[in-house]
Symmetry: C2
Subunit: 477 residues, 2 copies
């Protein structure tokens, strides 16, 4: 379903605006055809679509800046679009105006191989980027799963399974060129790894979801591809013991490159769906990156000891690439497996994170909330970071069940906050978490708002996101 | 020498102010005695002292907030003071007013051992903190050398020798409580490692040198103490080959915990002063942290291969603690050795950083500039991060030589910027680098300024720093 635009203080795009914007980007780079508008109306999450009035595909930073200047003068909202793989409505143009699709700005501009850096445009997918970087023996570690665009990953500070070792997107960006609402282009950060020269505007922009500026170019920090990779899987009698193992593995110096948790219920569903026979217990999926084969062997022996000591009832490990793929298959494809085994269902994917010590309490509380409501939820998480996703299925088109899932989502967010955590570990605020901003940030929300007003006084950049009072009533897809 | 205060728009502290402030913090927590004022007038760098009118030692966050509220209402400048170990005049109260010494707020509030986190007050020294954390098998990795306070390290985004593996201060802080100019206390960040919930105010405050707010509490990310440590030293025929080795070691997956460069000239000075016989060639000092002894041995063998392949003319490595201390002694004590071997001299310590590929060009250019001016400079750098310090001696009290050193400093900063680097990698802007802000940041400086005006509209927080138009004429000590 596609809902009505929410347009508190913006004006509609006129034929005159359309002509002026076409003057900037050229005829083949803007469209108001319904098909194009629909393609930019929904992300991968559960929110109803909202159509922009115009989709624009800029070719370069100057065009982005000129479009912003025009729209700022004309009070027309502009919402940047990457790959549409967001989950919290972050890129939905809820107030209409322009959907600024960055997909044509998808080039690698420079590979600085000796510096372990790449400079690229924001529209390139991180998987496409990594495919090209592999030739240089380098990669950009953050991996949110889908082939998200680099610009979208920066906007949401995306993270994913490798964060436990390599950090989130914010830890892997060094400099950016950014177009501001008034049409100026600024440079933030530096190609120097060490930076302490003035305010950190780089990190102010990262995670701001296109509400402070639009990234037109980024220099990313790369990592050498590991010489040797091993994977392991371990089952534990209960969640507490699994998390104890997470803490021990993180404290061991083994530096896992992935440390993922799947609950017994999720394993059970996969066994059923895939005809597998994994132990139906809390399970850890792990990956390790080593500098050589000997280090790999030493690491695996050490890991096995730790898991045995901490009561693992099952353990498998391998360095063989084919075996590794098999071992991780159900983790990598857990979402598809779930969708396949739930025909006619939609999913709300919950994202919260807590300090690791609170992980068992969070999972315990979430299970209780789910049971209280007689619902079903599959737990899958980046345990090494205290981040959990719970997939909440609801029948397509069932408004009541959808609202029950939303309410359950809120119950669990409240638990995470009470445990010293955050309402969103990696999916961003968008529309879905805006109503939690005040509770999580208190007076700091006022500071965020004052910065927004300073950098975007007319509020044209991705309105209706992050700040609760701006977010329209949510309409289900 | 102690110079005149620069007070463009502030009012002097009156007896009435003194009484009101004493009401907030108590009689034993403020002083206008000359001895106290002098102790807070100079940092460890080369700038002339400037006295505050009042030193205040707050006991808690509420007192900090109340002092700020009072001073904001009264248009009295407030400059926070940590350990006085800064090098760019960052904490010198150049406009008078209050020097807010955080030294009494030096407690550890909570050790979250399972989360690898500690919550502490800003006045604690990082060495004191690490001494206490060692009991838990944890440490806070950033190490700027001196026993800087945590608050000062946050203010300057201090880094040091372990940044190549563990990041700078900004990479190791999760949440903070901050007092704003208007006397409000806000919380920024979260104890959750993963965070994507709104604007990153945490990183906006880190590195802002007390000009946007004063940190009253911080939760830091800790790292398990390494199970096994090895150290190595390698000499190379020229700078280019040494840097080639730096790139290769960083690309090897060995993940050095320190990767330090010392130029031949510096080695020569140490040999002379300490009666040693190191090869007088560009030298790398390295440290590696391992999860166990076998990994250590494997790592050292691999390292020796790399160094040999890349033309090292000398190589030593050890895992023995006493041997390690000996090997690193001259690096750790290089500053004292230099001071001791240059009686009657002061030093200007230059700090710039470039992308690693530009490191040889930077060193080459710096040597040329030094030779052009007939000067002397000792090179010592965090090569793994592209960060170099050059120690420029000048005779104490010799104004002409001091200004020549300042001019040389500027020559080399210009070279670093031309090579895509930054005017300061880890010492911050303070007074010393403010005149480079516009050149380095262009239009982004205007954005920084607008944020400053939004958060501190009366400009009471550490005035005379970062923004060039505010910095008074520099006066030599």
């Amino acid at each position: 379903m596609i809902g009505e635009n929410h347009r508190p203080r913006f004006r509609a795009v006129s034929q005159e605006d359309r002509a002026a914007l076409q003057e900037i980007v050229g005829e083949d780079a803007l469209s108001d055809r319904r098909g194009d508008l629909e393609q930019h109306a929904r992300d991968a999450g559960h929110f109803a679509g909202q159509m922009a009035e115009l989709v624009i595909w800029p070719a370069n930073a100057e065009q982005v800046a000129q479009v912003l200047r025009y729209c700022n003068d004309g009070q027309i909202p502009v919402t940047a679009w990457g790959a549409g793989s967001g989950l919290e409505g972050n890129a939905i143009p809820v107030c209409g105006g322009v959907s600024l699709s960055m997909t044509r700005m998808n080039r690698i501009l420079d590979v600085h191989a000796d510096d372990f850096q790449v400079t690229c445009q924001p529209g390139i997918g991180h998987k496409d980027l990594n495919e090209q970087l592999a030739r240089e023996g380098l990669f950009f570690p953050p991996d949110p799963g889908a082939n998200a665009s680099i610009g979208g990953m920066i906007a949401n500070n995306a993270a994913g399974i490798r964060t436990v070792k390599y950090g989130a997107t914010k830890d892997n960006v060094l400099r950016m060129q950014v177009a501001l609402a008034d049409g100026s282009l600024i440079e933030v950060g530096s190609r120097s790894i060490k930076q302490s020269c003035g305010y950190d505007l780089l990190h102010l922009i990262i995670g701001s979801e296109g509400t402070l500026g639009i990234v037109t170019e980024a220099t990313l920090k790369l990592t050498p591809l590991p010489m040797a990779v091993s994977s392991a899987l371990a089952h534990f009698p209960d969640v507490e013991m699994a998390v104890e193992a997470v803490v021990a593995i993180r404290g061991s110096g083994l530096e896992p490159a992935a440390l993922e948790f799947m609950d017994a219920h999720h394993v059970e569903m996969i066994n059923r769906s895939e005809g597998m026979a994994m132990e139906e217990k809390p399970t850890l999926f792990m990956e390790f990156h080593h500098s050589n084969e000997t280090a790999l062997q030493v690491g695996l022996e050490f890991l096995e000891e730790i898991c045995a000591e901490l009561g693992a009832t099952g353990y498998r490990a391998t360095a063989d690439p084919a075996e590794r793929r098999k071992l991780w298959h159900v983790r990598h494809h857990s979402y598809e497996i779930m969708v396949r085994s739930h025909p006619g269902m939609n999913f709300l994917i919950l994202d919260v994170a807590v300090p690791i010590s609170a992980y068992p309490a969070l999972i315990h509380a979430a299970r209780e909330r789910i049971a209280d409501r007689g619902a079903v939820g599959y737990f899958l998480g980046h345990a090494g970071d205290g981040n959990i996703h719970i997939e909440l299925p609801f029948p397509e088109g069932d408004e009541r069940a959808y609202h029950a899932a939303l309410a359950l989502n809120d119950d669990i967010v409240a638990e995470a906050l009470a445990l010293g955590g955050t309402a969103t570990g990696e999916h961003g605020v968008g529309m879905g978490k805006a109503h939690w901003m005040e509770r999580e940030h208190g007076k700091a929300l006022g500071v965020m708002r004052s910065i927004k007003e300073t950098l975007d006084p007319k509020g044209i950049l991705n309105p209706g996101k992050i700040f609760p009072q701006d977010v329209p009533e949510l309409i289900h897809a």
